[in-house]
Symmetry: C2
Subunit: 460 residues, 2 copies
C-alpha cells in the first residue's frame, strides 16, 4: 500500500463509515468563505460523532504522521480550515448537541459543531442568550467561533469570545484528553490554557466540548438610531465620541459611501443620496432610552442627520441597510473581506487610509466597521476566483496602515493562510518564535493544521 492508502485503511478500521472520500465533499474542504482554495483536495474526511472518534482520528494521524485539519461549517474568512493533499479533515460538525444548560450558574456545555444561531435559539426558549455570536451566526459553529476568537457586533458591550469561554475539553495531537478551565466565574489554577486555546486556529488541539458563560436575555425596549453623515470620517468621529462619552451601545455599525451604493443597487433604494456614510446605533438594557438620547445629541452635534425609534419594527427597518451589506457585496464580484482593528479613536484616520489605498492601487474597497470596538471590514472587490497580486499589494498597504495606527491585522477572523505573511510584522520575530515553541509543545510532530498562522519554516 502507498502511504495514503495505509492511512485510509487505518482510519477505516478505526472509524468505519465515519470516513468519507466522496469527491464533492473533499473538494468542498479545499475552501472556505474567504473564497480562497487549497491546491488540491485532502485525503479523507472523518465525520466525528463523538470524542472517541476524535481521539481515534488523532491516534491514526500520530501513528502515521498525517496532518489533520479540524473543520466545522467551513465559514472561516482567513483560510484557517482549508485542507489539501494528504491531509485528514476532522469534521466536528456532527457533534452538535447542547449537553447542558445550567440556569442557576448561567453556564452551558456545548459540543463544537452546534451552529451559533441554533444554540441561541435553544437558549432563547428559556430567556437565555450567548452574547459573542458572530454576524455569521446562522451558518457558523461555536467550535469555529472558539477556534478563531470570532467576534461580532456586540463585543464592545458584551465581551469577546474569550471572555465567554470558561473551560474546554481538548483532544491533543496524540489522542489524549485534557480539560482546561472551570465552571466557576473565577479560577486561576496554573497557566490559562483555556484562553490560549481560544483563537488558536486548530494549531494546538481539537476542542470537543466547551463550557461557556450564558446570560439572561436583556429585558426592556431597544432604541435604534440611523444617521447619515457627509463622509465616513465624520461618522467615525461621531461613533468615537459616543463611546468616549460613556454611552455603551449594544450595536454601533458604520457603512461608507461605497457600501451604501452597493446596498442601493441591491435593494433599489436611494440611501446614497441621503449622505455618504451611515451610522446605526442600538442601545439596550435599562438605560436604553437615556443612552440613545445622549447618542442622538452627540451624532447631531457632529453633523449627523438622524432618526431614533424605540419601535421594534421600525428599528429593524433602520438596521436593514446594514443587514443587506453581505448580499450587496456578493453582487459586486468576488470580495476579499478584510478584518483590521484599530483603537476606536483611530477610526477616522483608518477610513482616510483606506481612501488613500483605493486611490494608490486603483481598487474599490467598500468598508463597514463595528464602530463600537474599532473593527473594520474593508471589502476588496475583484474579478475571478483568485485574489490578484495588486489586491494583495493594496491589502498589504492597508495592514501597514492599521498597524501604524496601533491596530491589529485581524480583529475576529484570524490569520489562517491569508495573513500569515504579515504575522511577524505585528508580533515581531521574538514573539513568533515563542508562539512556534508553544505550538511544538502541543504538537511535536507538526500534524495539527500545518502551514496555518505561521509560514512554513521550510518552503513548501
Amino acid at each position: 500500500m502507498t502511504g495514503s492508502a495505509a492511512v485510509l485503511d487505518a482510519l477505516r478500521s478505526a472509524l468505519g463509515d465515519a470516513v468519507v472520500t466522496d469527491p464533492a465533499r473533499l473538494d468542498a474542504a479545499r475552501g472556505d468563505k474567504s473564497g480562497h482554495r487549497s491546491a488540491a483536495p485532502p485525503l479523507a474526511i472523518v465525520d466525528a460523532r463523538s470524542i472517541e472518534d476524535v481521539q481515534a482520528t488523532m491516534r491514526v494521524a500520530t501513528a502515521t504522521r498525517t496532518p489533520v485539519v479540524t473543520r466545522g461549517a467551513g465559514t472561516g474568512l482567513a483560510g484557517a480550515a482549508l485542507a489539501t493533499t494528504g491531509e485528514i479533515v476532522l469534521s466536528t460538525l456532527a457533534m452538535d448537541r447542547v449537553l447542558e444548560i445550567d440556569e442557576d450558574d448561567l453556564v452551558a456545555v456545548v459540543q463544537p459543531g452546534i451552529l451559533n444561531g441554533r444554540f441561541n435559539d435553544i437558549l432563547g426558549e428559556r430567556g437565555l442568550w450567548f452574547a459573542p455570536d458572530p454576524a455569521s451566526r446562522a451558518i457558523s459553529t461555536i467550535g469555529g467561533n472558539i477556534a478563531t476568537g470570532a467576534g461580532g457586533l456586540l463585543c464592545a458591550k458584551y465581551g469577546v469570545t474569550r471572555d465567554a469561554v470558561l473551560g474546554l475539553t481538548v483532544v491533543l495531537a496524540d489522542g489524549r484528553i485534557i480539560r482546561t478551565g472551570h465552571r466557576s466565574v473565577k479560577g486561576v489554577t496554573g497557566l490559562d490554557l483555556t484562553a490560549l486555546m481560544v483563537g488558536s486556529e486548530g494549531l494546538l488541539g481539537v476542542v470537543v466540548e466547551a463550557v461557556v458563560r450564558i446570560r439572561r436575555r436583556v429585558e426592556g425596549a431597544v432604541a435604534t438610531i440611523a444617521a447619515f453623515f457627509p463622509d465616513a470620517a465624520s461618522a467615525a468621529r461621531a461613533a468615537s465620541a459616543v463611546s468616549s462619552a460613556g454611552v455603551q451601545p449594544a450595536v454601533m455599525e458604520l457603512m461608507d459611501a461605497r457600501s451604501l451604493a452597493a446596498v442601493d443597487a441591491l435593494l433599489g433604494t436611494t440611501m446614497g443620496a441621503a449622505g455618504a456614510a451611515h451610522l446605526a446605533v442600538q442601545t439596550d438594557g435599562p438605560a436604553a432610552s437615556t443612552e440613545a438620547a445622549e447618542a442622538l445629541a452627540i451624532i447631531e452635534s457632529l453633523g449627523g442627520s438622524a432618526e431614533l425609534t424605540t419601535e421594534p419594527e421600525e428599528g429593524e427597518r433602520l438596521l436593514a441597510v446594514r443587514r443587506a451589506m453581505h448580499p450587496a457585496m456578493e453582487r459586486l464580484g468576488t470580495t476579499l473581506i478584510e478584518d483590521v482593528s484599530v483603537p476606536r479613536s483611530a477610526l477616522p484616520a483608518m477610513f482616510a487610509a483606506i481612501a488613500d489605498v483605493e486611490e494608490r492601487f486603483g481598487v474599490t474597497i467598500p468598508t463597514v466597521a463595528h464602530a463600537g470596538d474599532g473593527n473594520l471590514h474593508p471589502n476588496f472587490v475583484f474579478e475571478g476566483d483568485v485574489v490578484p497580486d495588486h489586491i494583495w499589494e493594496a491589502a498589504d498597504a492597508l495592514f501597514s496602515a492599521a498597524l501604524a495606527l496601533g491596530g491589529t491585522l485581524t480583529g475576529e477572523h484570524g490569520i489562517g493562510v491569508l495573513k500569515r505573511r504579515w504575522l511577524e510584522d505585528e508580533l515581531g520575530a521574538d514573539q513568533v518564535e515563542l508562539q512556534r515553541g508553544i505550538k511544538a509543545v502541543f504538537d511535536p510532530l507538526g500534524i495539527l493544521n500545518p502551514g496555518k498562522v505561521f509560514t512554513p519554516l521550510v518552503a513548501g
Copy 2:
C-alpha cells in the same frame, strides 16, 4: 569569587545602586501576606527603575544561571513571590507610573508597580475607573494583580483581570522584549500570549508595562442591602437565587457565623445575635433600584431579614461588617486564607463541606464568600507562624470538596508554593506536562521563579 559574589558583582556593575543587600529588606522578601516564609533570605534585591533595568537584571541572571523572583508589593496570598537562598529579587515596585490615560479609547498604559488603589484615585479624578481591583487595592500593585489574575469583589458584573488586560510589554528570561496583544477592543493575531501571561505567577517573563481597559465611572445611586439568615447555606441559596434571577449585583458578599462572631469581637457589636450568616448586596447603574428591589424580595422570600438603603452613608454602614473581616481575622491568631471557587449553585454545598471539615479536623474556619461569583475565602485559624500539618490536612479535605463540586483550588490568589502539591489534582498529569512545556519555551534555563506553581521535578 564564589558564585554568589560573582553574581552580585555582575549585578552591581550593570545596575549600580539599584542593587540592594540590606538584611532587613532581604528578610522581608522571604515572606508575603500568606504568612508563609522561605527558608532563608535571597542574594539581592534589584529595585528596577526602568525597562532597561529589568533587561539588565535578566541578562545577568541568564549569564550566571541565577534564579529571579519578580516581586511587587509582597501582598500575595499564595507564596508566589517568596525568595530564598541564591535568588535575585526583581522588584518592580518603583516602576509605578501611569504612562497614559486615553479617555477616547478608554485604555490606560501603566507600569507594574503602581498600587491598584492609587491607579483608581488617578482615574477617579477624571471620572474613570479600573474595575478588577482586588480587596487589597490599597496595598497591592497592578503588576501583582496581573501576575496572579487577582479578582476582587466586582468580577461577576465587571469581569476578571484577564478581561481587562489588552496588551503587555514583557521582558523575557534572557532580557529580550516582546509586546503582546493590542490597544483595540478586538484582536486575534496569533496565540493569545496576553491572556497566557495573566495569572502566570512570574513563570514566563516580567511584565513591565500593561495596556488595560478602563471604564467611565458608573453614574447614579447605589443601592445596598444587608440581610441576616439563620445559617450560611440559606444565605448562599439566596445569593444564588439572586444571580440566577438575572439580577447582577456589583457586590454580593456572604459572611458565616464564625466571621460575624470575630467581627463582633473586634467592633463590640452584637450582629451574631441577629443571625448566623450575613449577606451584603450592592447594585449600581441605571437599574440599581429595580435590581435591589428584586434582590430584596428574593432574600426575604428565602428567609432573610433585610434592610435596603440608597443612602450612601447608610450603605457604607451596612458594608462595615464586611470591611471589618480582615482586621477581625488578624485578632484571632495566624490565618491561612484560602481561596476556593465553585459554581455559584454549589455555594450551599461548599458551606456544608466546610462545616464538615471543621468537625472532622477540629479546626475553626471562618469563611467569607464573593457570593456573586462563587469564590470563597475560608480562613484557617491556628497558633504560631508555620502552618501546622493538621491545618494542611484540613485544607486538603477542603480542596478535594471544592474540586468534587466542580470548583477550583484558587479563584484569585494563585498557586504559588502553598498549593502546588494539589495542582495536578485539578489539572491532571497531561495538562501539567503541557504547562511545564510552555514554561520551558519561555524559560529554558528554569531561572524564572523556580519552584512556584509546579512542584520541583527533582526533590530540592
